[in-house]
Every structure is written in structure tokens, then in C-alpha cells.
Assembly symmetry: C2
Homo-oligomer: 254 residues x 2
DNA sequence: AGGCCAATGCGTAAAAACTACACAATATTA
DNA sequence: TAATATTGTGTAGTTTTTACGCATTGGCCT
């Protein structure tokens, strides 16, 4: 067994762990970051454990940074999962056996495989900036389109659904986009982000009116060229006003 | 040490516990249920631990029932608290000493006093129906008006604030009242509940129009007499429609 | 018993927000 | 240089929200 892993396991909380639904936006698609486990044929959300001396939020920030290289981005708790049947759809015996095979028999106390409370965090990240990195248990990363997520290990499919629901609700009282889009973006790009998250089409003109009315965008003199059509203006978030809107939680009627 | 307590401690998770913000509504005031600890001069929220074989939601239901006698009421997770400085404002040494004095030296592993993740649940209960019952650690219950909550143990003051914020937000997309009001109630009573939770005055006529438009109320032929004024009609929630509205999470613009 | 008071029941007009479209402008490509 | 796809802006109609008026009524006071 990897000595680093051993130290990690021994210096972290046993009964609680963190799982992150990391949303990225690319090519008009909303995606989540998945990891493929070593030794077994299964994918899961990135996750990790909490060191004894850190807060759960600090742990979430650390885990996210370890997986994506990113810090200081949108990251927040959305639900805590603690069913005692979180593994009901899985062959736990087989899983434990395979994990033993992969990591040694003291990998996990079986008790904690079966009984674990998981704090769900969701993150919104700028797709291009992410350097996806596997962890001890996994050897492969994948950005998976939200509508094409395969059957995941544990209750991670449910977690994604709950996270998406929370994200959609969030859209109605907080602006979103700061961490999902590049610094400069066009109005149609912002609209596509909203449409993707909400899963429905929005009227171009009304959307623009609404977004501008929130007074969190700064219109730049530049335009984005490159397409065979009229060049759209670039915008950027006014961070100060954006943060104020996040704080105030004004109702955004999207 | 109480043998029941010992069994309880040994058969529950150690690192995670549950704290409940139990809201009640009485005499036009929103109140929370508080417990006074044995041995030390401090109040806290009702809480408890999670048995190995139950889900966290089941544990919350059980804890709530133990404290209030009520089941099948509005109860939901609102946040999970896991700061490593949840006790920063407290003299932990003194607390542990007093707890030892009260419960025996093996009351708690000091480690778990200092490092504990707490799942915050909030409940809305019908004040009159509650039979408040202390637990092992406490010997007194009190309904405390929300604006007059004293300094509580741990980070429980913060918990109440977060719960109240979550409750206010909830009001905008789910009906509230079914578990906070008696079966039959008048429109002004319902309005007072909303005003109390939201902390602001609402227009009587617009409120009535709004509530009726949601189509979750059933107007009864009876009136409430007793005051020196026109007797208001009684209403009652149409449980089926109410539940449907809860499910659909339609936006309620209060 | 009858008038007074305080609170309710019901209604309407103005303001604001939202929705649905129409048409001109403009980078690229053929 | 014309064709095309897409953006920029405006406006009218509809719905929702807000603000407020006035008649009604159960109990209390005289």
C-alpha cells in the first residue's frame, strides 16, 4: 500500500467524506468531471476525505484543487447524503475484494465502505483552465456530457441530479457565469450557458435585456470575430457588482 | 454513566451528529426549541447522533420525535456545519471537565468534542401539539422567540441564522404553513406567519389574492368568532394540492 | 338595543415585469 | 459583390404585481 495513502487514510475523518460535482461548460455543453477507479471497471465523482484539522469547506477546496488545479472558484455545499443504502445497487463484497486486490487488505475498513456520510459539493469551473488529475483510487479523468453520464459507483448518479437541481434553483437568485466562462465572453455565449443549465431555450432579445438590467456586466469595445456573421460584442463581469449580487441574492427571473 | 447512554454512544457514528432547528409559531411569534444542558449553564439546539444502521434522514426524524413527540412533519436538511473552529468561542476544556463531572470521564472522547461535523435540519411544527422532552444531556426545554435567542453553546446561533435564511428562501418556491398552523386557520393568521418568517409587513388584500391563486386552500363555511371585529372565515389546506405544490416547487412570489 | 370600533371581504386602477415579434446591420464565404 | 447566418435594438401586447378604496360585520360600550 502506498505510504502516502496510508498517512492520508489515518489522518482523516473516517465516517464522512466529500464528493464533488464539478461542472464545466464547453462547446455549448454542460459537463461533469468523472474519474475511473483503478482495478475495477467503474466511474465515480471526484471525492476525498477531511483532515482532522481542516474544516469541511477547506477540505472541499483542497480536493477540488487537487483534481482540477483550480482555486478560488465557485464551490458550495448542496446536500449531504447519508442513506444507509447508498450502495444498494452495488455488489459491495465484490467492490471490497477488488479494492483489496488493488490497494491491500487494509485499504478500507469494510464498515466505512458500507456506512459513510458524504457531503456533496458542486463547483463551476472554466473548462479550458482545468488540468484534470486522478487521485489515489483512480487512474483516468473524463469530462462527461451531463446527459450522457454512465451508471456510476455508489449513489453518484443521484448526486449529480441533486446538484443540477440545486444549480438550476441557484440561477433564480444568484448570477452564474463568473467561473464557468472565460474572462471575456459574448452575450450569446452567456445565453447558451443559461440555456444549457436550465435545459430550455430562451429568447435572445429578452435574455440580453434581463442580463443588462442586473447591472453586473461591462460591455467592452471589442468584438469577437471569426464567424461568418456579424461580430458580437464582448462583455466581462464587473466583479464588484457581481459579488454584491451574489450576496444580496436578488431574484433573477430567468 | 447511564447504561442507556453508553449503548447509545457506542452504537452511533462518532464524527457526525445532527442538530435540529425546530421552528414553532405561537401568538404571532416565531420560536425555536432550545435545551438547557445538565451540569453547565448553557443552552443548545436539540440534537442527537446517528445509529449505524439508520440513514441520516431517519435519524433526524427519530431525534425530532424524541424531542417533540411529533412525526411526519416538515423536516429537512438545510446545511452541514463542519468548521474546525466550531468551538472557538467556547472554553472547551471547561466544557469537557463539566461533562465529565456530569456523565463520567468516558462521556465523550475529547477528540470528538473538538472535531465534529454536524448536519443541520430544520423542522416546522405546530406549537400546540409539541410535548417538549429533554434528552440525556439536558434537563430543560424552552421555546425561545427567534429575536431573543441567548448566546448558545457551540455554533448553534449561527445554525439558527442559516436555518432562518433557508426557510425564507423556501417560502419563495414552496408553500409553508401545513405543519406550523392548526388544521383550521384564518387568512390573517396565515399572513402573520408569513410576515413573521419574512420579517416584513405584507398587504392584506394582495396576500389573500396570492394565497387563493395558488389553489391550495379550502375555504370553510365556518368563521372564527371571539374578537371584537368582523369574524374571519376559516381555511384549511387541501393536503393533496398542497403536496403537489410542494413537489412542483412552483415559484411563489411573496 | 343601537351605535362605535376594529378588522375583514372584495374590488379596481396604475405600475412594473414579462413575452412575443420585426427589421436593420455586419463579418465571412462563395 | 451578393448570399448567409447571426447579432443589435426597439416596440406593442399581455400578464403580474402593487397600491389603495370602500362596504361589511361581530362584539363592546353606553
Amino acid at each position: 500500500m502506498d505510504p502516502g495513502l496510508r498517512i492520508y487514510l489515518e489522518s482523516t475523518l473516517k465516517e464522512v467524506s466529500i464528493d464533488c460535482v464539478i461542472f464545466g461548460f464547453h462547446a455549448g455543453e454542460l459537463k461533469v468531471l468523472l474519474l475511473k477507479w483503478k482495478g475495477i471497471d467503474g466511474w465515480s465523482l471526484p471525492g476525498g476525505r477531511i483532515y482532522l484539522e481542516e474544516s469541511v469547506n477547506e477540505a472541499a477546496v483542497r480536493i477540488l484543487q487537487e483534481r482540477t488545479g483550480l482555486k478560488e472558484i465557485f464551490l458550495q455545499q448542496f446536500y449531504t447524503f447519508g442513506s444507509n443504502d447508498r450502495y444498494k445497487n452495488m455488489d459491495v463484497e465484490a467492490l471490497v475484494k477488488k479494492l483489496e486486490w488493488a490497494f491491500g487488505s487494509d485499504f478500507y475498513d469494510e464498515k466505512y465502505i458500507k456506512r459513510n456520510v458524504s457531503l456533496g459539493y458542486m463547483a463551476l469551473v472554466e473548462f479550458e483552465q482545468v488540468v484534470a488529475t486522478p487521485d489515489w483510487y483512480t487512474d483516468e479523468c473524463m469530462w462527461c456530457e451531463i446527459s450522457a453520464v454512465p451508471k456510476l459507483l455508489f449513489d453518484h448518479n443521484e448526486m449529480i441530479e441533486v446538484a443540477l437541481k440545486a444549480l438550476r434553483r441557484q440561477l433564480s437568485y444568484q448570477p452564474i457565469g463568473y467561473n464557468l466562462l472565460p474572462e471575456k465572453f459574448t452575450m450569446p455565449e452567456l445565453q447558451r450557458l443559461y440555456e444549457t443549465i436550465l435545459g430550455k431555450q430562451l429568447d435572445r432579445r429578452n435574455f440580453q435585456k434581463l442580463m443588462l438590467s442586473y447591472d453586473i456586466l461591462e460591455k467592452l469595445p471589442e468584438k469577437r470575430t471569426g464567424g461568418a456573421f456579424k461580430a458580437p460584442f464582448l462583455y466581462r463581469f464587473d466583479k464588484e457588482k457581481y459579488d454584491r449580487a451574489m450576496q444580496e441574492e436578488i431574484l433573477f427571473a430567468v
